[in-house]
Each structure stands twice: as C-alpha cells, then as structure tokens.
C-alpha cells in the first residue's frame, strides 16, 4: 500500500462558524456601505445603481450652520460626559467592589438601573423633573442626563477589570512603603485604567449618539446632532442625512483610534 497524504476531513462545524462570521460581518458593515453610497450619490433619494459620485451632501452638511452647531454641541457634550462618567463610574465601581458596603448586590443593580429603564422614559422623567423644579433645560442638565446613562458602562467595564484584580499587587506596593493614597495612584489606577477608559469610549459614543434621552432635554438652538438629524429627516430626507451619518461614524471611529493610540485600547478589549 502506498502512503497517500491524509485528506483533511470536511469539518461542518468550522464551515458553519466561518459562514456565521461572514454573515455577521456583512450584517454589520452592509448598512454602512449603503449609507456611504447614499451620501455620495448626487440625487436626493436612493437611486440604484448610483448615478454618480458627488460631495454635495457633505458640502450641504458642513455648510449648514444648524448641522455644525449641533455637531459641535454633540462633541462638546460627549467629551464632558466622557470625563464625568469615568470619574463617577470608576469611583462607583471601586466602592462597589472594595467598599464592603452592605447590600452590595442591590447597590450594583441600582447603579445599573439606567440601562434597564427605556431611555425615552429617562429623558421624559428628567424633563418633567427639571421643569417642575424650575431648573429649565440648561445644557448641564443634558450633560447630567447623558452621564446618568453613560456611567453604568464605565462601572461595568471597571468592575470587570477589578474582578480579576490581584490585590496582592497593592499589598506589595504597601509593604514597599506606599501609603494608601500612593498605592491608589501608583498601582490601582494604572491597572484599572484600561477598564475605565474602555467604559469611557462607550460613554462618549452613548452620549454622541444619544437620541431618546436628548429628545426632551434639548432646547431650541441647542439641539444635539441626533435630534437635528431626526427632525431634518421629517422634512428633507436627502443625502445630507447620510453624509452626517458618515461623519458621525468617522468621528466615533477616530475617538476610538485616538484613545487606542493614547492608552493602548487593545490591552483590554477582552471585557
């Protein structure tokens, strides 16, 4: 008998796995591709096949004071929300995981609750509360609302890191002469930072894309981009919407990339 190389048996599981991955990828990327086609197509409606390539919708988007004001407002709000939610979220997570607090499970559930309540109700409830208490709808009220729904993301990601945290590392620092405050800044903070910043990325995107919570809390001339886009869509459903979407996607992507550059996001994508 001559030795023939063994043929690798057909692996149905592996084939299914690859197919599923391909489908998922297509499911995620296809809408973006369609938006891009729509954004570059010169007609004010989706025509297929595209009749040409034009930047007129991008020009319209960047040339519109309304869109630009909304874009800057959204970016500004999202940046403040990013900072606030990492500070609050990290502090909450540390307290929850380290604090020996009574009723810890209940407290954790409480801090996560903004994720369970439909965001539209959160927005409506805050709107009502602001109006009743005479605060009105200042921009910090909007920021507070966004922070409320963004903080749970930071708590989640930070708790995940804290869960696997070897506390002996902190003890080692203490034995070497580091006071509790120094232990926190020299060891604890650098080590939970990946989780905190991963949560921060979520927080930024949650705020930047936030529609339901913003819906009731924005004021005339102080509308965030998603709200402006929604209202624009009711009257002019043209390529400017698609252009705005592409800009949003690219902005969100660049935030992720910048954070990755600054702090090495890769290290903690395993959440």
């Amino acid at each position: 008998m001559s030795a023939t190389p063994n043929r690798r048996p057909f692996d149905a599981g592996r084939a299914a796995y690859l197919t599923l991955n391909a489908l998922l990828l297509a499911f995620l990327l296809l809408p973006i591709a369609i938006v891009l086609v729509f954004a570059l197509n010169p007609t004010p409606y989706i025509s297929f096949p595209p009749v040409g390539v034009s930047l007129r919708w991008f020009e319209k988007f960047f040339g519109s004071a309304e869109f630009m004001n909304a874009l800057w407002l959204s970016l500004w709000v999202a940046s403040v929300v990013l900072v606030l939610s990492i500070v609050i979220g990290a502090a909450c997570a540390l307290a929850l995981s380290r604090g020996n607090l009574p009723g810890r499970a209940a407290l954790t559930a409480f801090f996560m609750s903004p994720l369970m309540v439909p965001a539209i109700l959160t927005g409506l409830a805050l709107f009502q509360a602001y109006l009743l208490s005479g605060i009105g709808r200042p921009v910090w009220g909007l920021i507070a609302a966004h922070t409320l729904v963004a903080v749970p993301y930071v708590i989640r990601t930070t708790l995940a890191v804290l869960h696997n945290f070897d506390r002996r590392i902190e003890e080692a620092a203490a034995v070497l002469g580091a006071s509790p405050v120094r232990v926190f800044f020299e060891v604890t903070l650098p080590l939970i930072r990946p989780g905190v910043f991963a949560g921060g990325v979520f927080a930024f995107i949650v705020s930047f894309d936030q529609f339901p919570v913003s819906l009731f809390l924005v004021v005339p001339k102080g509308e965030t981009l998603p709200v402006v886009l929604f209202n624009y869509m009711k009257f002019d459903l043209d390529g400017a919407i698609a252009a705005a979407s592409m800009v949003s996607i690219l902005l969100a992507l660049s935030v992720v990339l910048v954070l990755e550059r600054l702090i090495g996001l890769k290290a903690y994508v395993k959440l």
Binding site: D166, R168, I169, E171, A172, A173, A174, V175, L176, G177, A178, S179, P180, R182, V183, E186, V187, P190, L191
Partner: protein, 326 residues
C-alpha cells in the same frame, strides 16, 4: 544589612467573628534567622505572616519587631520586604521600575536608586532585563525580580509567602539554594511560609509546625524530624510508623528500622509491597499481629534485596522510637 528579631505574643485572629485562624500564637524569631512556618492549608501560617506584615490586625496579642511594638503600625511604615506566591509584580512597570519602587517611596535620590537597582538585579542575575515588562519573563525570572524588589530596600525582615510554590521542581530546588545563600549573605531575618515539609527542612534554621491555628512544635529541622513532639508533627513530616506500647504512642521513622532474619527479630512479617525510590526502597511489611510497618532500605549501589512475599524480621533501637505527647 541590619536584621531584627520578631516576637509574636499571644496573637489571636478570627475571621467573620467565628473561624479561629490564629489561636494565641507566641513565637520568638531571632535576628538573622531563617524561620519557617510550616503546616497544611488553613493552619494559620499565612495569617500569622500577614499579621507580621500588617495586612491583618490581630484581635488580641502584640507583634514586636526589633524590640518595638508594631501591632498598630500601618503596613507602609513597617519597613519590611515581602515576596508573594503570585510574585505580585507591577505588570504596568518595567523590571527596573519594579525594583526601584520601594526606593522611590523612600525618596532615595535618583542616582542612588539607579545604582542600587543595578546592584540588586545583578544579585539575582537579571542584569540586562531592566526594560522588560514582567509579562515577558519566565516564572523563575519573575520570582527573582520579586526578590530583588523586596531586598533592594535592605529591609531588616523579609517575609515570604510560599514564594517557590509556583515553580517547577527543578527550578524550585535551585531557588531554594539561592534564597538560602542570599539570606545568609545578607543576614536578613526571613520568615518563610510553606506547606512543603521538604522545603522547610532543607532551608530553615528553625521551623514552627502549625495546625488548626496553633503552634504544635518549634525546633530545628533535625529536632522536628527526629524528635517530633506530637502525632501531628510526626505524621506531617515524612513517613512515620506509630507504635502503640500500652497506650504510649511512639514514632519510628522507616529508615531507623533494620531488616534482619525473621527468627529472633523484634517483629517478623511478610513484605507486601516494595516501592523502588532510586536512593532507597520503601517496603510495606505486614507483621503477624498489629498494623503494617513502613521500612526504608537504603542502598548505596545494590538493588533492594527483598521482594513481596518474602518473610523478614524487623529490629530498631529503643532510643529511635520517640515518645509522643498525647
């Protein structure tokens, strides 16, 4: 390098108000001594060590180091070195930064830090690894970094919590020699927690065998091995035969028994099993009456002379059968 004596005085620690982790333990550890806390898991050895370090506060009793009561002193003011089983290196810092950490906390001037870090790394044969991160090192190398990090501050006391537990056997033996040699050279007082009796015997000046939160016996390795005071100590260290002579329990090591002709021997019986161990052979002998006996037959060159089924006689010196406290 200075070293300091450690004294635990009637130290007690309970957890959750119920479990008695450490029960009125009193220990006197001399300056410059290599002292091991030996026992099974849950015996209170690690809790005792953590009370010396300051991670746990005793419910009652005092801890003295270098003649000073440090019971209420926070960890970072105790000026000790510690090596953990998991090494507990700072994963976000380089090897050099890890080693420099304690010096930085002590606000040692920068040039001196650099000099001492280099010296400490040289001492553990890790020169050239300064810029690596701990994740890029092998287990043995990480262990050495942990050692260098603990020793660079020249602490009078070095605490080791199962520091070699995660290493493989060969490396572990090598590190045992190195650690012992280093300790003698530096003269530091070293408290070593382990559940490995061989390790404790090989390295220690003295050993405290702990069980159920209490100290069973303190002594040199020879004392602990040759003259176990309690049945627990005798059982925990090496192989042992427990003889019951009219209610008085005696401990007899297998290697103290000699194989002789069956007739006229103290005991005679049949070899049940024979385990060849390289340097020796461990026989299980079933006497005509009583429990089976372990006998170690050492052989310089020749193989074991007895096989299962052989009839053998056993004999030993009375002085080798150590009376145990009941």
């Amino acid at each position: 390098m200075t070293s300091a004596a450690i004294k635990l005085d009637q130290v007690t620690k309970t957890f959750d108000g119920r479990v008695m982790a450490v029960d009125a333990v009193t220990l006197d550890i001399a300056a410059g001594e290599f002292f091991s806390l030996l026992g099974p898991s849950g015996c209170g050895k690690t809790t005792s060590l953590r009370m010396i370090a300051g991670f746990e506060h005793p419910d009652s009793g005092r801890v003295h180091v270098g003649g000073k009561d440090i019971t209420d002193l926070p960890v970072h003011r105790r000026d000790m070195g510690m090596v953990f089983q998991s090494y507990a290196l700072f994963p976000h810092r380089t090897v050099a930064e890890n080693v420099a950490f304690g010096l930085r906390m002590r606000e040692v001037p920068k040039p001196e830090i650099e000099r001492r870090v280099a010296a400490a790394l040289a001492q553990v044969a890790l020169t050239g690894f300064e810029t690596r991160k701990p994740g890029q090192l092998s287990g043995g190398q990480q262990q050495r970094v942990a050692l260098a990090r603990a020793l660079v501050v020249e602490p009078p006391v070095l605490l080791c919590d199962e520091p070699l537990g995660a290493l493989d056997r060969k490396l572990r033996q090598q590190m045992q020699f190195e650690l012992k040699e280093l300790q003698k050279r530096l003269g530091v007082t070293l408290v070593f927690v382990t559940h490995d009796q061989e390790e404790a015997l090989a390295m220690s000046d003295r050993i405290a065998v702990m069980n159920g939160g209490k100290v069973e016996q303190v002594g040199t390795p020879t004392e602990i091995y040759e003259r176990p005071r309690t049945r627990f100590v005798a059982d925990f260290i090496g192989e042992i035969n427990i003889l019951d002579e009219g209610g008085q329990l005696r401990a007899l090591r297998p290697e103290k028994i000699r194989l002789v002709a069956a007739e006229g021997a103290r005991l005679s019986g049949t070899v049940e099993t024979s385990n060849y161990l390289g340097g020796s052979t461990l026989l299980r002998v079933q006497p005509t009456t009583g429990p089976s006996m372990l006998v170690r037959e050492t052989h310089a060159g020749a193989r074991a002379s007895r096989a299962p089924g052989d009839l053998v006689g056993l004999t030993w010196n009375d002085s080798d059968a150590v009376a145990l406290e009941s």
